[in-house]
């Protein structure tokens, strides 16, 4: 899973961007593949590190609104799961995943992805109609 979406934590965002920029430079410089092999684990490890729990109050929501009569919200996930996001519809968690291109998939929409968590949540409401999410959704094993 990814860490938080970069926009919700400027410090992490800056670090990730810097490292990306460095790696891009290294790769475009055409450095021998041995170096690439050495860097690959570094590059991939970023994807698996869970963000440290943030002490203090809950992080501010990325968005919160009423859409077609349903309350939708997103905030950084406290445990780094669900694609780094805690998206809720009427208070119930929507399973969030990411694609390699950075777009978002949900437990409701597995066969299309969305550019932002807001688009993701709205699309889930569109698809659900009046159906409520389960209180404890099925998990991928």
């Amino acid at each position: 899973m990814r860490p938080y979406p970069t926009r919700c934590n400027p410090r992490t965002a800056a670090a990730v961007l810097t490292r990306r920029a460095v790696l891009r430079t290294v790769f475009t410089a055409g450095v021998v593949s041995a170096t690439a092999a050495a860097l690959a684990p570094v590059f991939r490890s970023r994807r698996t590190v869970a963000p440290a729990a943030t002490p203090g109050p809950r992080p501010a929501p990325l968005f919160e609104e009423t859409y077609r009569g349903r309350h939708i919200s997103a905030a950084p996930a406290a445990d780094g799961s669900r694609g780094g996001l805690d998206v809720r519809i009427d208070g119930r968690p929507l399973h969030v995943m990411r694609r390699a291109d950075g777009s978002y998939l949900s437990g409701v929409n597995h066969f299309e992805s969305f550019d932002s968590p807001l688009d993701l949540a709205r699309a889930a409401v569109d698809e659900l109609g009046s159906v409520r999410l389960a209180a404890a959704p099925a998990h991928h094993g």
Partner: protein
């Protein structure tokens, strides 16, 4: 050797026998195990784990084997039954006999998306949803997605995928371009359309079919039988092409260990993609 028929050619008796076998698998608990398996093996390509069923080259062999298991379970109950295929380039309407009262039943009409016609209507008492991400204990559909209308893939769109000579290509995920697999699975953009073919069919049906527990909707099997047939058509069109990646990926390749090459064992069955290239001697497709 048995035949998978185009669903539109099934006789009334054949429709009835297929439905009866599916209902029996549901009753004895086997069906919901299949639903769980599909959900369990959906791994998106941002994750580091092995992807077998989606966003990866083994999309075709994984679903071929998955359907074979399902079909074996059906045929253990009734050896005259096989999984029919739905050619969504020709049967394109919610009014098609596919969605008839004696077969799949129709769309979910109300805001609750509840399917209330056909053998899988909850009120008939035979189709309780037990594996899902919503509270709905009934099957849901939303044919044609009226809130944001889409149409089923056309023959031209299918041809766009089948004409692609490369089975798959790096980065072997949902970003791959110039890949038959990705054009058919449907993450590849087709002109102005962001989604295509297989993915678009899931979206067009809506309800349970848009999620990881898509096999809750029995039309899942008919859709994927056609996907399986399309793999045959692609092989016939490109006899010189084969499954890729054929050889182990380089040590530095970020997809190494995340996708299956031709001779890697594929979970949960430990058969290789190479072993599933052909279904000769098992079943054939009615043309």
């Amino acid at each position: 050797m048995y035949t998978r028929q185009n669903q539109k050619n099934l006789t009334s008796a054949q429709r009835k026998r297929f439905v009866a076998a599916v209902l029996e698998l549901k009753r004895n608990g086997t069906y919901d195990e299949f639903v769980r398996t599909h959900d369990r093996y959906f791994v998106p390509d941002d994750e580091d784990g092995l992807r077998v069923g989606h966003m990866s080259p083994s999309f075709f062999p994984w679903h071929r084997r998955y359907l074979l298991d399902f079909e074996r379970a059906l045929r253990d109950l009734d050896p005259t039954v096989s999984v029919p295929y739905w050619d969504w380039t020709t049967d394109r309407s919610p009014a098609s006999s596919l969605w008839g009262e004696d077969f799949m039943g129709g769309t979910g009409r109300g805001p609750d998306r509840k399917v209330d016609t056909g053998p899988f209507a909850h009120d008939r008492g035979n189709w309780e949803i037990t594996v899902g991400v919503t509270e709905a204990r009934y099957l849901t559909r939303n044919l044609g997605r009226p809130h944001k209308p889409i149409t089923l893939p056309t023959a031209e769109e299918l041809k766009w995928a089948i004409d692609e000579p490369a089975y798959d290509v790096s980065p072997w995920d949902s970003r791959a371009s110039g890949s038959f697999r990705n054009k058919l699975e449907g993450w590849a953009r087709n002109g102005a359309e962001r989604w295509s073919n297989h993915n678009k069919v899931h979206q067009w049906i809506g309800g349970h079919m848009t999620g990881g527990t898509a096999p809750n909707d029995p039309v899942f099997w008919l859709h994927h039988a056609f996907v399986d047939l399309i793999w045959d058509r692609w092989q016939a069109r490109h006899p010189g092409s084969g499954y890729l990646p054929a050889a182990p990926l380089d040590r530095w390749d970020r997809q190494r260990g995340r996708v299956l090459t031709r001779d890697d064992p594929m979970p949960p069955w430990n058969v290789t993609p190479a072993q599933l290239m052909s279904h000769k001697g098992i079943y054939r497709y009615e043309v």
